[in-house]
């Protein structure tokens, strides 16, 4: 029984290798360029509660700092000065009280302008810039001409003889998105696979097998001719065809907020 199973598997593998020679599928390399989040996502309820709990416990178990001691000292000195009953040694009264120092420090902090988490792209709803949704992952999609249709999917292109799939992916990216885009490919191996049939046979090919390569976005502008858009996970799910979207999301990290 077991022997028959083993032989069966071998036969199937042999058949696959045999049919490889006369394959009727186009080999296509697709590229998934992802811009990683720049800012930490917001804390949810439980995380906020636990953070506050940890901070109160830390204060409870700590010793008083120099600043606190100085503050207490100042209060004592102020009391003595008010009462004027005891001769106060002017040397021990600090020139700048701890409270003053604290106030001036918080003023300085308030005056410093941090950059906004909600960028211009967010406010205006522009999807073609990677400077949006700084807390989320963004994936690049472009217009692709497939036959007579133009679809918005991840950049992809046919594999040519004599190059590896990764080289194909790099070539496609530079052709379609321009050389200004700086990315980092993370592996020689593809990370996802999608198969689709052509509506009619073209050059004896039934359809195309797309092998996705993953790259991290570092810098640079995408060429406008391909009409790029940087989409979050939800937007991808809305825009892409269902099965395609499922394949793409299977090799991307899930977002938890």
């Amino acid at each position: 029984m077991l022997l028959r199973k083993v032989i069966g598997a071998e036969v199937i593998l042999g058949h696959k290798i045999f049919t490889r020679a006369k394959s009727s599928w186009d080999i296509v390399a697709g590229v998934c360029v992802e811009r990683l989040p720049v800012i930490t996502p917001p804390l949810n309820e439980l995380q906020k509660k636990f953070k506050d709990f940890l901070w109160t416990v830390e204060i409870e178990k700590s010793l008083k700092s120099d600043h606190e001691l100085r503050h207490e000292n100042d209060k004592v000195q102020a009391e003595l000065l008010k009462n004027e009953s005891v001769d106060v040694d002017l040397d021990t009264v600090s020139k700048i009280t701890a409270q003053d120092f604290e106030d001036s420090s918080s003023d300085e902090l308030n005056q410093f302008k941090f950059a906004d988490i909600v960028t211009e792209g967010d406010k205006k709803g522009i999807k073609s810039t990677p400077e949006r949704c700084l807390q989320r992952h963004l994936v690049l999609v472009t217009h692709q001409k497939l036959g007579n249709d133009v679809k918005t999917i991840l950049p992809q292109g046919l594999w040519k003889e004599g190059e590896t799939l990764r080289q194909t992916a790099e070539r496609i990216l530079s052709e379609q998105c321009g050389t200004g885009l700086k990315v980092k490919f993370l592996s020689n191996a593809p990370c996802g696979f999608y198969k689709y049939k052509y509506p009619a046979e073209i050059n004896g090919r039934l359809g195309a097998k797309v092998f996705f390569y993953y790259a991290n976005y570092n810098d640079g502008e995408v060429d406008k001719k391909s009409k790029p858009n940087w989409l979050t996970r939800n937007e991808l799910a809305e825009l892409l065809p269902e099965k395609y979207n499922k394949t793409v999301q299977s090799f991307l990290i899930e977002e938890t907020f």
Binding site: S23, L36, S187, A189, K209
Partner: protein
């Protein structure tokens, strides 16, 4: 005749060797003989008479020596049991001296608060476990997607597959700078100035 007289007179001047004369002889001489003597050949000082030592005293001496050694061993062992101080972990001395001023009044928590705290901790552990399981599931999912892609590639073309599984040497060393609390400010001019690094240095200086 002349010879014998001289011989007689000269015989008084004989040198008698030690070997010929036994030790305990009576010094009675029948003839007047002046005997020159060389002292006996002595190779060493004559041995002093050994005093008999009390065996009890010997035993006492041995016991004292043994006790001394054992005491020294115990002292060294006590040293080994003591742990060596770790410089980084020792609290700074000026804080230890000021403990009286620095200690906070001990907090008395009501039963309700301590219960809510305990429940919060439990909820947190449950949440963290979920998070961890979700992370592991994600990693499994991503790896399975890659494995499937490689399997399909192997079906398509062995050459491409072999090229795909080659390790990428340009990837390592690889570094990612993490997420921040606020985004970077565009065209920020950092203020000029010197700073003196007062951080403590542990280990070899």
């Amino acid at each position: 005749m002349f010879h014998s007289q001289i011989l007689k007179q000269l015989s008084r001047l004989t040198i008698a060797s030690a070997s010929k004369l036994p030790f305990n002889t009576r010094h009675i001489s029948s003839s007047a003989v002046v005997q020159f003597k060389i002292t006996d050949q002595l190779c060493a000082e004559p041995l002093k008479k050994k005093k008999k030592v009390d065996p009890a005293i010997i035993k006492a001496r041995e016991d004292r020596r043994r006790k001394k050694l054992e005491k020294q061993i115990r002292k060294l062992q006590k040293n080994a049991r003591q742990l060596k101080p770790i410089e980084e972990v020792e609290p700074p001395l000026h804080l230890m001296d000021q403990m009286g001023k620095r200690k906070r009044p001990s907090v008395v928590l009501s039963a309700e608060i301590s219960e809510t705290r305990a429940l919060l901790v439990k909820e947190w552990t449950r949440y963290k476990k979920q998070e961890y399981m979700a992370n592991v599931a994600q990693i499994d999912r991503i790896m399975a997607a890659q494995k499937r892609a490689l399997d399909m590639l192997y079906e398509e073309s062995e050459e491409l597959y072999n090229e795909a599984i080659m390790p990428d040497v340009q990837l390592i060393p690889c570094s990612f700078t993490g997420t921040y609390a606020t985004p970077p400010i565009k065209n920020y001019e950092s203020p000029d100035g010197e700073y003196i690094d007062v951080s403590k240095k542990w280990g070899h200086k």
